[in-house]
Symmetry: D3
């Protein structure tokens, strides 16, 4: 992640919140007033986005000092002080909401990812995210998934191949689709094919797909598919996995379980900024 790209995201967030100025604060708080406070977790969760929170404040005023009392990815109990802050009161109060919005959103995702990872502990499967992310925040959300112990699926359409039903239909079958893709793409990319039954799995194997997505299958179907594939390709369980028993899915032997809900249905972690 490029610093100036992250800053652009934060600046857009600051602009939409602050607009032409925080007039309440400008009216009430003297220009040279200082303030200090702390960020406290009001519920258990996995902290994520501390550096983003810090950058948000420093974009407003480089004199603001944030001291971390927890680390990225740390599981903290309710009541934990996760960071302290100190600096010009105006800038701290003006930036509070934007910084919290980012921190709570990212921590919410990391917490959910961490929970899913815990649910399948002891299996060899990994939890992966999807492209069902909040528009404008993908790199932060994919980072939050990793911070929670999850694994990233492709970032977007240009750094990974996923051949779906419409691609297959247009190309005239799985094999011609895979061949068309292989001719065109950088040799550094693997090829994944979406399948819904064993016949399609067989075609994908024949096409030498690197990854086979098992889409909307029952656990029994997945178990059979995994056995059938026998290590000739990575396997990915997909399709409303947010509503499934993840442990049972993992025990089918799949390599990856991708969960759209990790990022399309986010519950912000409850974090407050309290002043001394």
């Amino acid at each position: 992640m490029l610093n100036f790209e992250i800053d652009r995201i934060i600046q857009n967030a600051l602009i939409e919140d602050i607009g032409t100025g925080d007039i309440t604060t400008e009216s009430c708080i003297p220009e040279n007033a200082h303030i200090s406070g702390y960020f406290i977790a009001k519920e258990e969760g996995t902290v994520c986005g501390l550096f983003v929170m810090g950058r948000a404040f420093r974009l407003l005023d480089p004199e603001i000092k944030v001291t971390l009392k927890s680390s990225e990815g740390q599981r903290v109990p309710k009541g934990t002080i996760i960071a302290e802050i100190e600096g010009p009161a105006r800038a701290v109060l003006t930036g509070e909401r934007t910084a919290l919005n980012l921190l709570q959103h990212m921590s919410g995702i990391a917490t959910a990812a961490s929970r899913s990872v815990a649910a399948i502990s002891g299996t060899k499967a990994r939890i992966a995210d999807t492209r069902k992310t909040t528009p404008g925040l993908r790199i932060l959300e994919k980072y939050a998934v990793r911070t929670g112990g999850g694994s990233n699926h492709r970032i977007g359409l240009s750094d990974g191949i996923l051949i779906k039903d419409n691609h297959i239909a247009a190309a005239g079958g799985i094999i011609p689709a895979v061949e068309a893709v292989r001719r065109r793409i950088p040799h550094t990319l693997k090829i994944e094919v979406e399948t819904t039954d064993i016949a399609e799995v067989d075609e994908a194997l024949a096409a030498k797909a690197d990854i086979i997505m098992l889409d909307n299958m029952t656990n029994e179907q997945m178990k059979e598919a995994v056995l059938h594939i026998g290590g000739r390709a990575l396997t990915e369980a997909s399709g409303n996995m947010g509503d499934r028993d993840l442990k049972a899915v993992a025990e089918t032997g799949v390599d990856l379980i991708s969960i759209g809900a990790l990022t399309h249905t986010v519950r912000a972690m409850d974090i407050s900024l309290k002043f001394n």
Copy 2:
């Protein structure tokens, strides 16, 4: 909302998903292929963001045609076809995910707002949003709240005044804080003061605050405060309202109930794009 501002948000979302190109689609789908399909609600909900979804596709290819089969704010049952699409297959497939991410996110918020509004029907209270929005999407999210029947609180720090504890402490009390603000702000803005007990409510009244926030009060406290205020100011119930019995809160007589969870904890509405 300015069209070119909305387009900037959508373009950022398209860039982060498509990057340097949708190479799967470019490989498999002939350049002149056409496709048609429909957006279907896979659960009951309040539709929101149809025009954003349409613009997303047209930014990729102006030849894509989207025909609406539902309208903004319409409550649709599971299985409803909410829009039809037809156009160049490559652009439709490439834009699918971004368009759905926007549509599902906005519909998710409208659905939640609509549910909260329904919960207090029959009372005079209104449901309002907060500044706890997803960074970068505030105008779309505030629009979604309105679409779901809710009311907007201030958009950001420059179009509304909310005097909180730190402002009050720095200014030396509610009355000096309100006076400081009144001297500085455009005369077109009302002044809201956060209060936590009747003593503070009294000070706010003395300062001729236009709006009094009743923060983290019990329903009994709010009932008393509302009676005490007696129409001399608008009243707003606030503080984890997402976890409260909204009907009971509304029955305290408050004018507004502001709910951060409407936008900080979003559950995407389940909508799919199916192809014919």
Copy 3:
């Protein structure tokens, strides 16, 4: 005002002046030459924009040091040294024109605002600006009006309500117009209605408008309207106020006098940068 937003305005100004480089200075001035000088008021006026001038130079070269010898909003006589500058000669000479253009423009507005404020001293009225500002410079110009002792009207169309004749006609009268607006807007905004005679004033009062604009009325009409309103709404005198006797207008008892000419007809304050 966000620092990085101010910087974007300044950078655009620097780009349009400097283009691909100040080739005169690059040719004549050695890279390591230093220079010092001072900004001098060549006429009496109200200084405004010192921090913008400073940022302009520092965007070119962070080593430039500007030492203020006057403060924002200070009334200075002709001949006053308002700031000193010292730093790399190339950057100072290259930035001179852009920095002065900003400083002189803002000081010109502050001076005009200050003059209008002085004209009504002893009355309870306040001088306010309008939306008739120079495209691209609104936040700086509204700041300059405040610096000169004036008051800001709404910043733009989203942070204030002003219901004009066309709105009223389309909505079917003042009362339905106010009601339509009240349903839609954040509860943090007041509602202003434009009126041209006492009948309209009465309608606005009936609609419980918060502010009543008295547009293009004679002083006698305004006096009557103010009496009639009797404190039930704020009153604002409007309509070519730049050409009126402000003291006489103020003495009608209006709360606000809004003057488009403050920002649509600007006379730059004469300030020079002299080198030692």
Copy 4:
């Protein structure tokens, strides 16, 4: 002027005026309402910026139609209808202020330039602008000067050479300064030297300067300098020319009279948009 550069200026102006939406208009005016009206000159002046006004409306809604009833640079008497407009009522009302701000500002400059040009008619001198322009609007303002019959000085620091006292001092005299510049610049640029007396004029001639600025000279001094130069260089009268008798200056025989006040002290031309 590049269309998309002009649009960027207009979009910035629209954003600062409209912000997150024209909520008054959105509340009162039905989405499908149409409106028609006309732009009327409320005082005599030189019209400028009609195409900018048109683009401002079309950026909001491409269906708005503007029909010109006057042309760029036309001198119109008070009461002239200079353009008609027709289209969706919401977009017309929302764009009105920004479009007028641009049109009035540009027409104000063209009017002033035209007045200066008229003042020296019958002489061979030309009126020129300077770099004392409003930050962010230089290309529009320089265009307005041309529209009023004036001539442009260099656009900025990279398309023209003007060697001033500090350059001369640093280079060790006019001759070494001109030589240093000549070595470095594109051969397509002329070289102008600022002089304050005949001795400096002589040095500039010796250095084969293409243009000699006569800075802050009396008319007598300029007459003498022009005679002395005898056509060996262009001559430019400069220094608070806005306060001088332009005819008398022109009669000294100078080729150009550059006037900062044309753009640093702008009086908007009074133009209104009236609806039918």
Copy 5:
């Protein structure tokens, strides 16, 4: 490639060429003049960038019509008319240089790629590009390589893995480096390891690298490595390949030959725009 991303590149190119306006053309060519002409290849080459050339003109004036007489990737002999153009004379003349700069640059790269591809025809190897591209033009240059028949290596650092000597040293060997990467990256990416001798090739094989780069090896070394690898990984010849006998390299059996010179040392194809 996103249309609006391509347009941004073209707009930047237009801005740097046209600046504040093509004053020669504005002075000499009447506003309503039309012109027609044709693009002619003044040497043999592979045409590339026709759509970029067309967009450049249309960004200046949507009325310009470009009619293609050749197609992307077509090998044309000297003297071929590759496109015709017709439209407003001002915009055509103003856009000519920028459009040609883009077309000639892209065609130059496609021509070079095509020549390299021809050189190894009959072998199974493919020609690939590198990240040694012209700053700001990577997506256009990578497209030009494909247009010339070449293959793309990764677009940048986020869509492909290439473990080099410094990564290996820091990670403590090839095997730990590959393992560290595998834990972190999306499962959709292959892993490439740079090797310089057979010992390193063995380590890469042990680490189950997907691709092995043979860096700066002699043809004999590469032949041996290819035999040794025996299809267990893709092989890529690398290291000043622009100066090597490509046929001989291809005959070592490598899968890919990556050539930095394809994009770091570009010779523009000679194409002219002639007017009728």
Copy 6:
């Protein structure tokens, strides 16, 4: 050149190379690892772009320190260490390719310019560039030409006048074309006319053109034209000068030789970054 404009070019280059992150480096290199190394010329050449290379690294991480061991425009033999670098290993490795791409490209142009300048040493002619530059990099490329000892032609269409055949045809001859231009342009610009034979040269002289381009003439024709012009205008040899014997061209007595190939056909200078 404005620092923030240069940074924008570099940031675009970094974004296209680094995308969402250098995942190889992030995986293998510990966050706190440091590295040091040096840039070495692998062939003789003229160094250019050192400050751009330095800024590229510092945009990634301000802690990176680059120590110059050569200077802009210095001719260095093969094997010269031109700069040293030291800093956080991740940022150094991530920025390496972009920094080198810029440095090698600019040094390649400076080297070519320097070679052309050397070829005509002893004559009074100067080598000039053209507008045939790489889209997006013009200011860096024009700077590189100067660094190599060459001279800049106009930067773009707004800072110089070049009247070509189509302008002449539309205006009705060289004399009306020059007059039309002279009326419109800033008086700070010279006027250049393209000619192809002595008759046109005569017309250009009659029109008092400041510069006469001798386009695609033989050396004999140019010699004759130069004699004929006799110092009444600057002369510029033009037309595939990259393929001509520059010394012979210079000996015709022309003032300038403009060479498109300096920038349209660039060979990157071979420079490596080696780590200690």
